[in-house]
């Protein structure tokens, strides 16, 4: 009886055993290929190696943007049991604030599981040492080296170079995700943004064998990343610093370019800021401090600041009047101190109340006589003004290879109807002659237009980067057609601005000028005051209501090597001295060089400098 039951059990066991064997056969033979593939997929993990971002050099090969190793505190979420407790303990070793934690949580959200997420960037040596000692207490917490963008001269080049920062959702969607695998930064502004595709490079890949917890055991295959291309700029770091220091404590901008090449020698907006803070993600507090600073350090006045060009427009108006045959080069007016439209009572005043008396074109420029320009503006009409000013590139973007630029505004009746829904009034033509009214231009536009005068009509495309790998050479330059005499009359007027004792820049330019300068001053009335400033105390309000000072210039007149535009907000006296400092810094070493010496020999207008000065 019992033995029968036992044998019955044996039969049942044999049947069940066959079930197990059938199952093993099913998995190991029938489904082997499929499951073996899954096992390989488990084992092998394709890891991206981020490319090294290209470097940015100035004209003399000095590094403006480089990559430096930064030691970051990272956390692998999946290897930590209690995140909050770990963070609390870590904060006893390393200074971790709320913002670090908030940033970490955001980054962790964007990172795939089992990958380390940075908690704090740029640990100090001391912090690294403290973490090393306590490393065993924190599994899943590591100190990792990473190449991080670094701007040695930070605020000196901030507005020109721009910066890189963490990729946001919008950028993530716009760009090819393949290129940005493993990279978490992207050019946000300036050259860094414009040349993103060159600087970025291409990520490489590593086939690694990794454990379920993401630990990498060995590398099976590797495709190296392609380092991003380097950029060589026309920018001169010394000149940039000179311009920045000249503007110290002021709100303003300087744009200087080489009229021959269009290369931007200096592009400065003051005040500036430390771009390095943005690379790894700026803290909320620091960012709002920068944003709410009434001096607006984040605002790139050089390319985004739209100012009334004021009297700096006068040389261009003069050329327009001559070329359109509105006036002859000997056209004179008698200035009583004001201008009246025929049949109107309103007086448009000269800046000098009592007038300049008999005034011809040259004198009108050097004295910055408003009455003369009211007169020729009305004679030309707004359509002619608009047409010629557009030829000088005003009212449209220059196309500088920098990410953000404003077009300014060159008004026309057609524009006013469209934008304001109002007709053009003759009085608006009058003030257009002195660069007021709706007219707006950026310092960059003014500098580029000044370069056209310096070149006697040859237009150059302003460029940050020298042609090179991935950077196309500048397009053939267009010619702004004017007769040779027209250029020389206007330039003579501009020389007088500085050289003539009654020229508007004569005294401010100072003594001992070793080269000839053609320039034009401007004083722009402040139209509106930023909303947030209104609540400040009266003294500040008063400060922000003062006129802006402008100055455009090129030098040396005979062989222009620099053309520039300077604006100093709420200070009409500073623009000329700033321009002097910049021009001196650029020209004095060159004036004394052999090249310059030979150049000046070939030019008849100027007596050669003493060879003894050759350095």
């Amino acid at each position: 009886m019992v033995n029968f039951r036992v044998l019955l059990g044996v039969v049942v066991m044999i049947l069940m055993t066959f079930g197990l064997i059938a199952r093993a056969f099913h998995l190991q033979v029938v489904r082997h290929d499929e499951l073996a593939t899954q096992s390989e997929e488990n084992r092998i993990y394709l890891r991206t190696i981020p490319p090294v971002r290209g470097l940015i050099y100035d004209a003399n090969g000095r590094l403006l943007a480089e990559n430096r190793p930064s030691y970051n505190l990272t956390i692998t979420r999946e290897r930590i049991k209690q995140l909050d407790a770990t963070l609390a303990e870590l904060s006893t070793l390393v200074d971790i604030d709320e913002e670090d934690i908030a940033g970490f949580k955001e980054r962790a959200y964007q990172t795939r599981p089992f990958n380390s997420v940075p908690l704090k960037y740029r640990l100090s040596e001391e912090e690294i040492a403290r973490l090393a000692v306590n490393h065993h207490r924190f599994p899943g917490v590591n100190v990792e080296a990473q190449l991080v963008r670094f701007y040695e001269d930070k605020e000196m080049v901030a507005h020109a170079i721009g910066y890189v920062g963490r990729i946001n959702d919008r950028e993530q969607k716009k760009n090819d995700p393949k290129l940005y695998e493993g990279t978490n930064v992207i050019g946000k502004t300036g050259v860094e943004k414009f040349y993103e595709s060159i600087l970025l490079g291409e990520p490489g890949h590593q086939e690694v064998e990794s454990s379920a917890s993401g630990r990498i055991l060995r590398v099976l295959k590797q495709v190296d990343p392609i380092t991003g291309g380097d950029l060589h700029l026309y920018l001169d770091l010394d000149l940039q610093k000179t311009a920045m220091e000249a503007l110290a404590g002021k709100r303003g901008a300087v744009v200087a370019l080489d009229p021959k090449t269009g290369g931007i020698l200096a592009l400065v907006s003051s005040p500036s800021y430390d771009t390095n803070a943005f690379v790894t993600g700026i803290g909320f507090k620091d960012y709002s401090d920068l944003r709410e600073d009434i001096n607006r350090p984040l605002y790139n006045r050089a390319t985004l600041g739209e100012y009334p060009p004021a009297s700096t427009i006068k040389p261009f108006i003069s050329l327009a009047a001559l070329d359109s045959n509105t006036i002859k080069s000997n056209y004179k007016i008698f200035d009583e101190g004001y201008y009246q439209l025929p049949g109107e009572e309103r007086r448009y005043r000269n800046w000098k109340r009592k007038g300049d008396g008999w005034t011809d074109l040259k004198r009108a420029i050097s004295r910055s006589n408003d009455t003369y320009f009211y007169d020729i503006a009305v004679k030309m009409g707004i359509d002619t003004i608009h047409q010629y000013m557009s030829l000088f590139g005003l009212g449209k973007k220059t196309g500088l290879d920098i990410a953000s630029e404003r077009p300014g505004l060159m008004p026309s009746p057609e524009w006013k109807r469209r934008a304001r829904g109002a007709p053009w009034y003759p009085g608006e033509t009058v003030i257009s002659g002195i660069g007021q009214g709706y007219m707006l231009a950026t310092p960059l536009q003014l500098a580029a237009a000044t370069a056209i005068i310096a070149n006697r009509g040859t237009m150059v495309q302003p460029r940050m980067a020298k042609p090179g790998e991935g950077v196309a050479p500048v397009l053939p330059q267009a010619q702004v057609e004017k007769s040779k005499e027209d250029w020389e009359i206007v330039i003579q007027g501009m020389i007088d601005v500085v050289a003539h004792p009654r020229g508007t820049a004569h005294w401010r330019m100072g003594r001992g000028l070793q080269y000839t300068v053609a320039g034009k001053t401007g004083t722009a009335q402040v139209v509106g005051i930023p909303q947030d400033i209104k609540e400040e105390e009266d003294r500040v309000l008063e400060e922000f209501q003062k006129d802006h000072g402008l100055f455009i210039a090129f030098a040396p007149v005979e062989n222009p090597q620099i053309a520039l535009a300077v604006i100093v907000e709420n200070d009409s006296k500073m623009a000329v001295p700033v321009a002097r400092k910049v021009m001196d810094a650029w020209l004095l070493p060159r004036l004394n060089s052999v090249d310059m010496f030979l150049d000046s020999l070939s030019s008849k207008n100027v007596s050669p400098k003493a060879p003894a000065d050759v350095r």
Partner: protein
């Protein structure tokens, strides 16, 4: 475990002769050799599954040694003495189970352990042997097949510890203990009408279990078993990864120490419940077949001993131990290969774990006791 095998074993023994050294030591040399060989081979699998942790292997070897000592000790106890001892063992076991529920050590959300200074054990393991012993002792008081009252009382004897263990909760062990008790009943000649009746009654009780007895995590295991892909990163992970491990092994496997699923930690619990997946990955179908054949030899020897046991008590005990051993294997391989829900049953003699090995070896001690004390028990 085929009939041929049993006959062959039969012819090896010469029962009329004077007691051999093995008989005097109450050791069955055939079973002994099989177990030694099997345990040694198991250590190699464990070495790989543990990530080449020699410490763990040495500890396991020590447990095995302890197991063999336990086996030897148990084998010295004559069956009739075991029969008398069983009520005490049973009551002690149940009291320990109650103690566990009251002051148990919390391990992975389940209270299974009793901690004494420097020593920790699971009373449920102890009860694994106490239940078949007690039921067998109870049934052997009267002629077989058992009456309805005896069956009912046996079911109560089985039910009390099973319920206590299920409450810990440890579904795997309670199923094994229920099986070991029921095997005694079945072997004792439980009438077919009881068997069929119980099967019919079992169906609604499944519903009762599901609705009232089973814990959430146990239900989750069953649901995951039915559809592991529903939760690939959570509860389904274990079974998906173990299937990948087994399947990727193919016919001959990836080679010893070369199983990527376990070495790279994709396979969870690789040195405990899921160790068969490591073996299947590294040695392939061939390895699985060898393992099953080896188990077959041990079970075959168990069946042989059962068939030749001289008294009813020894027979019932031997049969129950052998069949339960098979259930162990079946449930473990079934759950790891995705045939059964994951209930937490280790692979006997291979999975890491001291208590499990000691209990199993004690069970084999019972087999040896039944086999070697025959001469002293006249009929």
């Amino acid at each position: 475990m085929s009939q041929d095998f049993i006959r062959q074993m039969d012819s090896d023994h010469n029962f009329g002769s004077t007691p051999s050294w093995s008989r005097r030591l109450h050791i069955d040399p055939v079973l002994m050799l099989m177990l030694i060989a099997f345990c040694s081979a198991g250590l190699f699998v464990l070495y790989s599954a543990s990530g080449q942790n020699l410490d763990m292997v040495v500890r396991q070897a020590v447990y095995m040694l302890a197991g063999f000592v336990t086996m030897f000790v148990v084998a010295q106890i004559p069956p009739r003495f075991l029969r008398r001892l069983s009520p005490v063992v049973y009551i002690g076991g149940v009291m320990l189970l109650i103690a566990v529920l009251v002051m148990g050590y919390d391990a992975k959300g389940a209270q299974r352990w009793i901690s004494l200074p420097g020593f920790r054990f699971q009373p449920s393991e102890f009860v694994k042997l106490a239940v078949p012993l007690t039921v067998a002792a109870w049934l052997c008081r009267k002629p077989l097949p058992p009456s309805f009252q005896d069956v009912a009382l046996s079911l109560i004897l089985i039910g009390i510890p099973v319920a206590l263990i299920a409450k810990q909760p440890d579904l795997g062990t309670s199923v094994l203990i229920a099986a070991s008790g029921i095997f005694v009943l079945l072997l004792a000649g439980l009438k077919w009408r009881f068997i069929i009746g119980a099967t019919v009654l079992a169906l609604p009780s499944v519903w009762v279990m599901w609705s009232f007895v089973m814990r959430e995590y146990q239900k989750q295991r069953v649901l995951t078993f039915l559809n592991p892909e529903s939760d690939p990163w959570g509860a389904g992970w274990n079974i998906i990864q173990s299937k990948i491990a087994i399947g990727s092994g193919g016919l001959y496997g990836k080679g010893w120490l070369l199983g990527t699923q376990s070495r790279l930690d994709f396979l969870p619990e690789s040195h405990t419940d899921f160790i068969i997946a490591v073996l299947a990955e590294e040695f392939g179908l061939a390895g699985v077949l060898v393992l099953i054949a080896a188990y077959g030899l041990i079970i075959g020897r168990g069946i042989f001993i059962t068939m030749h046991a001289q008294n009813m008590f020894a027979k019932l005990i031997s049969g129950s131990v052998t069949l339960t051993f098979f259930v162990y294997i079946f449930v473990n391989i079934g759950m790891v290969s995705g045939l059964l829900p994951v209930v937490g049953v280790p692979l006997p003699l291979v999975s890491r774990g001291g208590t499990s090995i000691v209990t199993l070896m004690a069970g084999f001690g019972l087999l040896m006791s039944a086999h070697t004390h025959r001469n002293f028990l006249g009929r």
